[in-house]
């Protein structure tokens, strides 16, 4: 999934990228409203984070223009003024949510996951129910909901977590080599840090395995990759 981040402050823009990419999104960064419209038309992002106070064209105008051609793409406004929130939601600009500056990283992730869930639920026609809900060693994965469940425990997952589990499930019993998993989940254009995949798998095990030190779902095949 692609996220368009339109924000004029370079550090906020890059910080958001650093925060969002590990969740499994590909970020497109722009620093003004005109670029935001250009990249929206060129890249067709799945989600837009839109600052209000931007050079050349403000966030409201960008939102209005986008809504003329696309009623569905989720738009989350980023605002420094709490009074602006009334306008964002009240002027029926068609925004899906808003984040107030100064925001916390957990809040950003929670809002992006919530919007992604809605987006995935709305795209039901794209895949079968069977591919979207499956069970791995007693853990039921709900891909569209970005969550898993074991007994009564609900576990929140990122888009990237779901992609990893889906890929391992599709290759049940087979060894998935590191390169294939990386290319499938991160994409071929991503230049990996040698530890990126291992660190992510380690974090994911802490979330889903009963005993992360003796994993039953994501087993390591030394020197090759992983297997479910």
């Amino acid at each position: 999934m692609k996220v368009l981040i339109a924000e004029d402050d370079q550090f906020i823009r890059e910080g958001l990228q650093e925060l969002i990419e590990p969740e499994g999104y590909q970020c497109i960064l722009v620093s003004d409203g005109e670029q935001a419209l250009e990249m929206f038309n060129a890249e067709s992002p799945d989600l837009i984070l839109l600052d209000i106070m931007m050079p050349k064209l403000d966030g409201y105008s960008v939102c209005r223009s986008i809504r003329k051609t696309d009623e569905n793409v989720p738009i989350i406004f980023i605002t420094a003024k709490s009074e602006e929130i009334d306008q964002v939601l009240g002027l029926e600009l068609g925004a899906d949510d808003y984040i107030k500056k100064p925001f916390g990283t957990r809040e950003v992730i929670a809002r992006i996951r919530a919007v992604t869930r809605r987006r995935l639920r709305d795209s039901k026609a794209d895949s079968t129910d069977e591919a979207n809900t499956f069970t791995m060693e007693g853990l039921k994965i709900f891909c569209r909901e970005l969550k898993a469940q074991r007994n009564d425990e609900i576990i929140e997952l990122s888009l990237r977590d779901v992609k990893i589990l889906q890929y391992l499930f599709q290759n049940h019993g087979k060894v998935v080599d590191r390169d294939s998993l990386f290319n499938h989940v991160w994409g071929r254009n991503y230049i990996p840090n040698s530890r990126t995949l291992d660190q992510h798998i380690s974090q994911l095990r802490k979330l889903i395995e009963i005993d992360p030190k003796a994993p039953q779902i994501i087993k390591t095949v030394h020197g090759v990759g992983y297997r479910f």
Binding site: D9, F11, I12, G15, L16, E18, L19, A80, K81, S82, E83, K101, P102, F103, G104, T105, R106
Partner: protein, 250 residues
């Protein structure tokens, strides 16, 4: 002569209003400008915190940066609310909600800062029933009250909160065990920019608007905020009253 005097007074009055508006607008601009660097400080500290072991020394340092940036954002919100209230009356937005949940949410927010100051927050009696309340105003008032206790009554080590419903009012008591407030200052503490000066309070950071905003918000909510008991050396107790009647019933 009378006309000239009247014109002079009118012009002076207009000039004063104009100056006040400029001051408010300046405060607004400055506060908004502060939010971008503050966003970066908080976001990058939290990104860093995810990459290190929270128990080592660096983790503690980052924790201080994040909690202090949160404290600064609350201060900015207070300044903005204050300047908004100077421009226009804030609007009340009552919703049916459980005050206990909002009390717990506030305690979760302030707990890290209170803990660092060595203050324990204890929630005693709760209401256990839904009422009509503006949750944002309620939380803002409670944050200001607890922040006040953290700044001025940390030596008491404890703050007790209790809630009850009486007639059509939600009543919250916030009791601290700090140095207390002198009788002749019990009303002044609700005046904007008023700060008590003493050996214990000098050097405490703050703009002196927290209690003033809290009282204004309580009045807006058809209630009040009062200092009900204050014993020097033993602490003081604030009583918050909020009207909880259904806004749709006449």
């Amino acid at each position: 002569m009378l006309i000239v005097t009247a014109m002079y007074l009118y012009r002076e009055h207009y000039k004063e209003i104009n100056m006040a508006q400029k001051r408010v607008s300046f405060v607004n601009r400055v506060s908004h400008e502060l939010k971008t660097p503050l966003t970066n400080i908080r976001m990058y500290a939290e990104l860093m915190a995810d990459k290190i072991n929270p128990k080592d020394g660096l983790g503690k340092h980052i924790h201080v940066i994040t909690t202090e940036s949160q404290r600064l954002s609350r201060l900015i919100d207070n300044v903005l609310n204050f300047s908004r209230s100077q421009r226009e009356r804030l609007k009340l937005n009552k919703l049916k909600c459980n005050p206990d949940e909002h009390l717990n949410a506030v305690i979760n927010v302030v707990e890290p800062i209170m803990k660092s100051a060595g203050v324990e927050v204890c929630l005693g009696k709760i209401t256990n029933q839904p009422v009509y309340l503006d949750p944002e105003l309620f939380e803002q008032i409670m944050i200001n009250l607890l922040s006040n206790a953290e700044k001025y009554a940390a030596c008491g080590k404890k703050v007790d909160i209790s809630a009850e419903i009486k007639d059509q009012n939600l009543i919250i008591y916030v009791q601290d065990y700090g140095p207390g407030i002198q009788q002749n200052q019990s009303l002044k503490i609700f005046e904007p920019f008023y700060r008590i000066s003493s050996k214990l309070t000098d050097g405490v950071s703050g703009a002196g608007i927290g209690l003033s905003i809290a009282k204004e918000l309580a009045l807006l909510h058809g209630g009040n905020l009062e200092l009900v008991t204050s014993n020097l050396g033993k602490g003081c107790c604030f009583k918050l009253t909020l009207n909880i009647s259904d806004p749709n019933s006449t």
